[in-house]
């Protein structure tokens, strides 16, 4: 049997999870996802300032210290912490290993996901990208503003790295579910056209990829009944073979695993459930057989898969102007009326000096249905946070709005507070453009370092 333990669902997830997963019971694989769709844009800015960066440094900090235990117990690590610089990430981890006296560590990196340099090059050497969203802008429209393009790779190159004896596999852009599917493919020698087995592993990957969201975190069914949330256990998939998994967690940790917690995660961020498309297969979520066995154990089997698509998804980042967001809180009396008046005031004042430089403008009243908007039903709250946001191609306009907002404190309605964080600063909008590329045009590369 193998045990695959999730330990990170995004860059910024709970920092105690990796150590708790390693130290609270037996596991064979530790899988950590760091790459949300826009994370690449953040990494790019960091790399532009400092060429040695461009990867999730928390991985080296949080997992690096565990290397002696991981090596001693033979636990392998698979992560997307490589971001846009898997090699730099691997070198940092190897340096950490040397510092801790860990020898013999083999770190594999997966490259080939970055296709940016091959966009717009002469026919034959370039790639053929087609838009995924037919309502959105064309590639030609955003072309000059593109800053990156990465193809989502699947489980195959990770499994190849494991076959080459890697203890740690560091990928760049990769389908989230592939991090858990890869060890299943490797351990049980799953054939590349065994679509049903690949679909089971893909569903396992989907359950694991959001960490504690399947074990009692963000649990809407009954959040009050989650045991010991202070030590919430991240999910573990136990597999005797490739056709059936049991989702569970370490018994000594908090949280829970039941049909409701796993279903909430299965339904998370999916489209047509009959066609969950990955580079490795197309999984049919309507064929999942889910059995709650009790004692924090939920079995998954029966998933049907179809052949993998002939294309891979490519995620491109492009610059889409600037935005700024700031907030001020107003208290009783007439908290909501004052927040609304202040929101109108700052808009009139800003437009009186700048005209209409904003593409979009939004005033929200947190505490008075900022989430539910016109569906809200609440009566007068005791305090309301005015949240003003605007978007503009002009950075200076966003900067000015930040100044105008802070200026409200002594020049607007009474009872204003909650502005100690200072003047709101503009931030660049990095939007995502998704496309498809023929998979024959993307060549994943595996290299073992150390």
């Amino acid at each position: 049997m193998i045990r695959i333990a999730a330990a990170q669902a995004f860059w910024g997830d709970w920092p105690q999870a990796p150590a708790l997963q390693v130290r609270s019971g037996p596991i064979d694989y530790l899988v950590l996802d760091y790459l949300a769709e826009v994370t690449v844009a953040i990494l790019q800015k960091q790399k532009a300032r400092d060429a040695s960066r461009g990867y999730a440094r928390d991985f080296v900090t949080d997992v690096g210290v565990l290397l002696p235990e991981l090596m001693e117990r033979g636990i392998k690590v698979i992560t997307s912490a490589g971001g846009i610089a898997p090699r730099a990430c691997a070198e940092a981890l190897l340096a950490k290993a040397a510092e801790l006296g860990v020898s013999g560590l083999r770190v594999a990196i997966i490259e080939g996901d970055d296709v940016f340099d091959r966009m717009g090059t002469p026919a034959g050497s370039g790639i053929d990208l087609s838009a995924l969203d037919r309502d959105g802008p064309t590639l030609e429209e955003i072309g000059p503003r593109l800053t990156s393009a990465h193809a989502y790779l699947g489980a195959e190159p990770i499994a190849r790295a494991l076959r080459e004896g890697a203890h740690v596999v560091i990928t760049g852009r990769c389908t989230d579910s592939a991090l858990a599917l890869a060890p299943i493919v490797y351990e049980f020698d799953v054939a590349p056209d065994d679509w049903d087995a690949l679909a089971v592993g893909t569903v396992v990957g989907h359950v694991l990829e959001c960490g504690a969201q399947s074990t009692g975190g963000n649990y809407l069914e009954d959040w009050r009944r989650v045991p010991s949330p202070e030590t919430i256990g991240f999910p573990i998939a136990e597999m005797e073979g490739p056709d059936r998994a049991v989702i569970t967690k370490h018994a000594s940790l908090g949280g829970l695993v039941n049909a409701a917690s796993v279903k909430e995660q299965l339904l998370y961020e999916i489209g047509d459930p009959r066609a969950y498309v990955t580079p490795d297969c197309v999984a049919d979520f309507t064929t999942i057989e889910l059995v709650d066995e009790g004692n924090d154990r939920v079995a998954i089997s029966g998933v049907r898969g179809r052949p993998a698509p002939e294309t891979l998804k490519v995620s491109c980042v492009y610059s889409a102007g600037w935005k700024v967001t700031g907030q001020i809180t107003y208290c009783w009396p007439e908290a909501l009326a004052k927040a609304k008046a202040a929101g109108d005031l700052v808009r009139r004042r800003t437009e009186s000096v700048l005209g209409h430089p904003f593409e979009t403008w939004l005033a929200e009243y947190v505490g008075a249905s900022a989430c539910f908007g016109p569906l809200g039903e609440q009566s007068e709250p005791e305090e309301v946070m005015l949240r003003v946001s605007a978007r503009s191609p002009d950075r200076a306009a966003c900067e000015r709005l930040g100044r105008e907002l802070v200026g409200l404190i002594l020049t607007g309605p009474p009872g204003a507070t909650g502005y100690a964080a200072g003047r709101p600063r503009p931030s660049e909008i990095n939007n995502i453009w998704s496309g498809l590329v023929p998979r024959s045009q993307v060549e994943p590369r595996v290299e073992v370092l150390g």
């Binding site: 909430e264 309507t286 900022a370 908007g373 016109p374 569906l375």
Partner: protein, 133 residues
Amino acid sequence: MTGSPRYRLFVLAHGRSGDKGDTVNIGIIARRDDWYEYLERELTADLVHAYLEPLDIGRVERFELPNLGALNFLVHHALGGGGAVTLKLDAQGKTFAQALLRMPLTLPDDLANTVLAHWGERLPPDCVLRASD
């Protein structure tokens, strides 16, 4: 029937929502397997669209997962251009599931009785809407 209370969808179902570009998906899961049939029959894409329409949304698609006792709704053009661009506090549509679960429903008597027995003392008071409310 005029005297009987209405119940929010939350008493029958739980769920989770998230973003995919400018589309929000809302997974709605029956709290008991035998309640799924009611949800599949009543919670149509048209009803969900009509309820969420004040939030300035596009079309709504529905997919059924009877194996999980669940429905998946895709709410298109729901985030003002997508999670990276939108100015909304809820940039990723995380609260859409809760917004939908607030929908008031008039339940058949036998289903209402099962709901009351299921929850007992734990029935959230703000999920029961009396006729006078």
